[in-house]
């Protein structure tokens, strides 16, 4: 693949000029999200004295497998444990011959599903670690705790709530549960992006809890949509219309935005004005920046939605320095993992799509010499039940996750592998009759997982306890998978 050499104009001065020229709609109002100025300058600092570590550019990508990925079939024990796994999973068990073997120095042999060959490759190269049996927890949790709702995160096992629990690490849904640990990281790291006109926290798949902060803090770009300046709002485009007409229209539209943002206007009108204002600034800024980079020689498969998202993310990482961003947070999402039925047909398709997208992403980052400063981690609603419902699986709790990139302390399995036994399984969140349910109690929490990533990004230690409320209840506060 050939990547064009970036041709960077002196855009920095233009940024500053523009930010001074922002109309009141952008700067005066904080309602309906955050003003562009405070987003750009990170003025929403929590006031904590501790400074973020901003040196070097770093990007963190949350790869969310929506629906609840059956990670117990993506990474499988080999050897004695395989037969236990096989007996429990029955028709849904992956054949031993379909596993790509890797080993952990202290935990023995495992296999990635053969359709996850890039994951195996990264593991062998020391760029990927498997983080075993992670899930939302309030603290260390054992089987005896499972009957006591007070000891468990709120509303386990429903898709939307457990997605939220993963993304907010708060153990609850209501109140401050609306804010994500990515959003909190963005606030802490804002000082690293002082030169940026656009927030360094960008979703390539729409709204999510992970990036949500009290002042908004992230923008959403769609890989389906070209980044285009807005006709009518921006008088420099739509040249077939008379200059006078474009100028007059633009002026009035800006006035409408200002007036709609004003204090005392209906709240939803202010929301509308806020997102519309952001759209005009963000699209102008990004269109201008992208003009300075030739397109990568990577044409994503239009049918692979994840690949298209990762392609957009790569473009934004490539441009991070000219965007003035030292720290970037990305959210990408791949759906379809809720394999209640036909799992043996569906899961291979999903893994193939995932592996292809990740493979191309990794190749592009390597070519751009960015692999060492980009870390990607997986997350999913939940792992799935070890039991079958005939030809699929149901909502579980803990599941394996994968962290990869040049900065990962890779080639290891982090944390204990749970028991796969269907009788006398100490890791099982038993059903109401005390019988085997196949829902595995996590042994490592989202908070431990997130805090390890947050430290790598440069979040000050003092900020972690409020970001991850469960963290202090665990002895191990860093899972050690980042170098």
């Amino acid at each position: 693949m050939v990547y064009g050499k970036p041709m960077i104009k002196s855009t920095r001065r233009q940024f500053l000029k523009r930010s001074l020229a922002l109309p009141a709609a952008y700067t005066a109002s904080r309602v309906g999200g955050v003003s562009m100025t405070s987003m750009a300058l990170g003025a929403v600092s929590s006031g904590a004295a501790a400074a973020a570590e901003c040196s070097g550019s770093k990007s963190l990508v949350c790869l969310f497998l929506a629906g609840g990925a059956d990670s117990f079939n993506m990474f499988v024990p080999i050897g004695n444990d395989y037969s236990v796994y096989r007996e429990t999973r029955n028709d849904l068990a992956v054949n031993e011959s379909d596993l790509l073997e890797v080993s952990d120095p202290s935990r023995g042999s495992f296999g990635f599903h053969r359709l996850l060959s890039t994951f195996q490759q990264m593991y062998i190269e020391g760029d990927l670690s498997v983080v075993s049996n992670v899930g939302p927890l309030l603290g260390p949790t054992v089987q005896a705790d499972v009957g006591n709702l007070a000891l468990l995160p709120e509303s386990l096992f429903a898709h939307n709530t457990q997605q939220k629990l993963w993304q907010n690490a708060a153990g609850k849904i209501s109140g401050t549960g609306a804010f994500g640990w990515g959003g909190a990281m963005g606030v802490e790291l804002a000082e690293c992006n002082m030169a940026a006109n656009v927030p360094g926290s960008i979703s390539a798949n729409g709204a999510n809890t992970w990036q949500t902060a009290k002042d908004g803090g992230y923008i959403s770009l769609s890989p389906n949509a070209d980044i285009q300046r807005m006709y009518g709002f921006d008088p420099s485009v739509a040249g077939w219309i008379s200059q006078a007409s474009r100028q007059a229209t633009s002026t009035r539209l800006q006035q409408m935005l200002e007036q709609a943002s004003a204090e005392g206007q209906p709240l939803l009108l202010r929301e509308a004005a806020s997102i519309l204002s952001r759209s005009t600034v963000v699209t102008e800024q990004l269109e201008e920046t992208f003009e300075n980079f030739t397109q990568m020689d990577w044409k994503p498969d239009q049918r692979n939605k994840l690949e298209r998202q990762l392609h957009l993310v790569t473009r934004l990482i490539e441009a991070r320095e000219s965007l003035g961003m030292q720290r970037q947070l990305f959210f990408v999402r791949m759906g379809g993992w809720d394999t209640h039925s036909d799992q043996n047909e569906r899961l291979p398709l999903l893994m193939t799509e995932l592996n292809t997208a990740v493979d191309n992403f990794r190749s592009a980052l390597t070519m751009l010499n960015l692999n060492d400063s980009v870390t990607t981690f997986t997350a999913s609603d939940f792992g799935r039940t070890l039991t079958s419902n005939g030809n699929g699986t149901d909502h579980g709790w803990g599941g394996h996750n994968f962290v990869f990139g040049g900065a990962v302390n890779g080639g290891r399995v982090v944390g204990d592998i749970p028991s796969y036994a269907k009788t006398g399984n100490p890791d099982d969140a038993v059903d109401k009759n005390g019988e085997f349910a196949g829902r595995i109690i996590p042994t490592q929490s989202v908070g431990q997982y997130g805090a390890t990533l947050a430290r790598w990004m440069g979040v000050p230690e003092a900020a972690l306890p409020s970001m991850f409320p469960d963290l202090s209840r665990f002895q191990t506060q860093d899972l050690g998978f980042m170098s």
Partner: protein
């Protein structure tokens, strides 16, 4: 008090009707005079026949589309009703609505209209794995169908009882997906209990949430019943996650009690076992299978042991699949959450994102009893939602806090259809009679608007009824502020959608003379209105596009914008009334190109404004 308001309204209506009649006669005379004098009119379509007869005894004369819409209290109310209860105001639909005695009469008329079925039109295209025709027919129906209230309600129901052709089996069963949509439309004003059973036994839902061929436990092989449908029918289709008060708020506030537990899910998973395709020769057959007829039981796979239901009752052991199903659906249907849970979501889809608890409670009360002892009458619920004082009040007549919270962000596709309806869009010359967008065909609307009917990413729809803006989320459960549609309004999609509209309006309008695939917006009518004068024009656009809710500031911005296009130096020292008359005279005399430019710019400013994103 409601009664008094109603009476008062009646009086207004009577007076207004006399006024209308008198005005119409006058206008007719003047119209004849003008046409007679000038020999031509601005608009070739200056009158149409009313497409359906108005109620008995009412005015059946053709609707005059050459006359601007006036901003009267009644007309504003009807325009707001049309925004809430249809896919948007058209000149004709508002003029017709104004002839009804009351909003209730309009609703009754709408509910009685024949159902526009999508399936016959989709089937005419052939192949059931071809996904595009389903969208073409949906857009055409939304834009042109007469049974607007039913179609609007069906769309709302399709976002509650979600199925999506993103599912790999359903992507090849498009006709069945459309049949499911028609079923929602047919049931839109029926009973909720019937709808619940129809949904449960529709093969499309059976496939989507894997209730189809769900089988009883096989302990030897460690197989348990599939929990998918059991969980989602509770969480999404009937009662929700938490216990609710009658106002739809999870209780106790701040620490709500779960409405059910994992073991409830397991019990209902056992209920929903033993259902197969109607024409299935055996449980595992892969033959051509009927995805339209309701599922049928196969008792060999049904778990006939007793189950613990949510109402505390236990089903007796030995019941068959149908008997178990009836008891289980009854138990959910009769749960006190259903009225507030479903009622609030329908309010949010049609009227306002943050209804007061009292509003939800009034609607829930109608769900619980339609006044004739029937529970679950959806027609009565829809009517209660639309006729409620909170829906009919304008923000001007609310207290300040209620006014700040009222309204909803328009769903992006509904906003697009509002525009097409208001500006009498017709299919582009190169579209083979279909309504398409500028950059994409309407089947790819999700790439512009972030949503496409029955193609949501999961059973959780495109957006959640409890999505909160980041700005207001801090209120938490004590004071949540919901903005569901905001969940899919992303920066890049907003800009693409705005640009698509811009291209459609400026470059493929009906006067552009361009052969194009994009739907063509008709700008002749607004040009005709502008010739009648600035205020008449702006008032007309206010009614047509913003249901009479345009703010004074927006009105004056537009008014100033038009003034700037006219050289007023000759009358700069004259009083405002003189200047206004002068401007109107100049507008009437402008050449077509200059007039067109003003119309395009002013239309775009309204349609691209933040104000147009909100339904008040």
């Amino acid at each position: 008090m409601a009664r008094n308001r109603a009476n008062e309204r009646e009086d207004h209506l009577h007076i207004f009707k006399y006024f209308i009649s008198a005005t119409l006669i006058l206008i007719a005379l003047v119209g004849v005079f003008i046409v007679g004098c000038s020999g031509k009119s601005d608009n070739p379509d200056e009158s149409i026949s009313s497409p359906t007869p108005s109620p008995a005894g009412a005015d059946n004369s053709p609707v005059r589309l050459d006359l601007p819409l006036d901003k009267t209290e009644i007309s504003v109310d009807n325009a707001r009703l049309l925004m809430q209860a249809s896919f948007g105001v058209t000149h004709a639909s508002l003029a017709l609505a104004n002839r009804f005695d009351s909003p209730a009469a309009w609703i009754d008329d709408q509910m009685a209209k024949p159902i526009t079925m999508h399936l016959p039109k989709v089937e005419a295209y052939g192949n059931a794995s071809w996904s595009q025709p389903r969208h073409w027919v949906w857009w055409e129906t939304a834009i042109t169908a007469e049974d607007q209230l039913r179609q609007r309600t069906a769309f709302a129901l399709s976002e509650i009882f979600v199925v999506s052709d993103i599912d790999y089996t359903l992507s090849n069963s498009q006709h069945a997906v459309v049949h499911y949509y028609d079923m929602l439309a047919s049931s839109a004003f029926g009973n909720f209990r019937d709808l619940l059973e129809d949904v449960t036994l529709h093969p499309v839902m059976g496939i989507y949430l894997s209730m189809l061929r769900n089988e009883k436990a096989d302990e030897e092989n460690n197989v348990r019943p599939d929990e998918n449908y059991a969980r989602e029918i509770m969480q999404l289709f009937t009662i929700g996650l938490y216990e609710l008060n009658e106002g739809g708020t999870p209780v106790p506030v701040g620490n709500p009690k779960p409405a059910y537990t994992q073991s409830t899910v397991e019990e209902y998973a056992r209920v929903f076992t033993g259902w197969d395709y109607a024409d299935s020769p055996d449980w595992r057959s892969n033959k051509q299978l009927d995805k339209i007829s309701p599922l049928v039981p196969n008792e060999n796979y049904h778990d006939s042991q007793s189950k613990q239901l949510i109402n505390g009752e236990t089903t007796p052991a030995g019941l068959n699949a149908q008997e178990d199903l009836e008891l289980a659906l009854d138990s959910l249907f009769n749960h006190p959450n259903v009225g507030p849970f479903i009622g609030k979501q329908l309010i949010q889809k049609l009227v306002t994102s943050n209804p007061s608890e009292a509003y939800v409670a009034r609607v829930a009360a109608v769900f619980n009893d339609n006044g004739r002892g029937e529970r679950g009458d959806l027609g009565a619920v829809i009517k209660a939602i639309l006729l409620d004082s909170e829906a009919r009040q304008t923000t001007a007549s609310m207290n300040a806090e209620a006014a700040l919270n009222f309204g909803k962000l328009k769903e992006p596709v509904i906003k697009a259809i509002h525009i097409m309806r208001a500006l009498n869009a017709i299919p582009g010359t190169n579209s083979e009679g279909r309504f398409h967008l500028f950059r994409k065909t309407s089947d790819a609307a999700d790439q512009i608007y972030g949503q496409s009917v029955q193609s949501s990413p999961s059973v959780f729809n495109f957006f959640s009824p409890t999505f909160q803006s980041t700005n207001n989320a801090a209120g938490g459960e004590q004071k949540p502020f919901y903005a569901p549609e905001l969940q899919i309004l992303t920066e890049s999609l907003l800009s693409v959608a705005s640009n698509d509209l811009h291209s459609m309006l400026y470059t493929t309008n009906n006067r552009s003379g361009r052969a194009h695939r994009s739907a063509m917006l008709d700008i002749d009518a607004p040009m005709g209105m502008l010739r009648k004068g600035r205020n008449a024009y702006l008032e007309h656009l206010d009614m047509l596009l913003m249901a009479g809710t345009m703010s004074d500031t927006m009105y004056s911005l537009l008014s100033d914008f038009i003034n700037e296009r006219i050289d007023v130096s000759l009358v700069s020292d004259e009083p405002e009334s003189v200047r206004a008359r002068y401007i109107d005279r100049e507008l009437a005399g402008l050449d077509e190109a200059a007039l067109e430019e003003i119309v395009l710019d002013s239309l775009f400013m309204i349609l691209a404004s933040p104000d147009f994103m909100v339904q008040q």
